[in-house]
Symmetry: C3
Subunit: 139 residues, 3 copies
């Protein structure tokens, strides 16, 4: 009924990255679930997870460009600046997009729409490898 996995994602550069396959390939128990939910949680405060288009890579580069304008670096009023100019914006972006996703599982597969994929949103210049906790439940 319950399975839990820790997954260490490959290090990626700042930006938005499709990681659906990297996650699903680490969940051997997924195929045993006919109806259930997958919860994936990122244990960091400067990277996040979202779901968006899995086809055209310019969607992902536009995400980076838009988020950088929504939450710019080096605003004179920022106080939390000791860890670099990318750090405070990374925290804000992480909360706007969120630290977790819950996705329905149907007949042993993630029940995503045709064009949906899981994005790792890496908001730091050098964020390193990111750790996920995946919790699967179902019957």
């Amino acid at each position: 009924m319950w399975q839990q996995y820790e997954i260490q994602l490959q290090t990626r550069r700042r930006g938005f990255h499709l990681v659906t396959e990297e996650i699903v390939s680490r969940l051997p128990g997924l195929t045993d679930i006919s109806v259930g939910l997958m919860h994936v949680f990122i244990q960091h405060t400067s990277a996040s997870l979202t779901i968006n288009e899995n086809a055209d890579p310019t969607v992902r580069s536009d995400f980076e460009a838009v988020l950088n304008r929504l939450v710019p670096e080096d605003e004179p009023y920022y106080q939390h600046t000791l860890e670099g100019s990318d750090d405070l914006p990374a925290h804000i972006k992480a909360s706007l997009l969120g630290p977790s996703l819950t996705i329905p599982v149907t007949n042993g597969r993630l029940n995503l729409g045709t064009w949906q994929g899981i994005y790792l949103c890496e908001h730091r210049d050098c964020g390193g490898s990111r750790r996920l906790v995946v919790t699967l439940q179902g019957g």
Copy 2:
């Protein structure tokens, strides 16, 4: 313990729309759950779900106005422009608001606050009918 429903929402125009009743009316098993959770997931990348005020309709029109200013159309730096000027902003708005909601179920009902309702956030000019996957669990 587990129930899963596919729901096709009525087509709605671009904007923010209250859909609590349209969803709940399709969940005959909801009343059987004394303690549990409802998870609702939209299988699209240019529409989203959120919870906000269920009373004054100007909250919903203000949502549309504010989101259009936060993520404007036709920015010269956008690269993903082939599907129309509303498309890339729709993807960004969808990720800012998110593709799913999880709501507590108590005594056979969604345990929402007095003023809370579920919004379908339709970010495309002509998005068509949107498909949801609702997963109910509880005891």
Copy 3:
């Protein structure tokens, strides 16, 4: 397997506040769960929940400053203005950050990253005490 709690948080001033301990201390059954999930839901439309850095308090004051610039008060195009100039921006901020969190539970504890804490995001000037519904499940 299922536990549900209503928690009334202390009244806090407008801004971002760490509430991890205030929540966990009200969940006596948490230690009984070896693998599971905690879902926490805020029953309001002008306050929200997020996860972010639990250490430097300037992260939280910067959150308030950035969100106030992203969604300013007193824009001339706002229609929902009867409840005060902080009200409509509070609704928008609440949906951008979201009304709920789902966090993995492992060996009787929230499986948060080292630097992660739960923030109450109080978007109103005088929001009063906020009510949460916490649903715990697991085995």
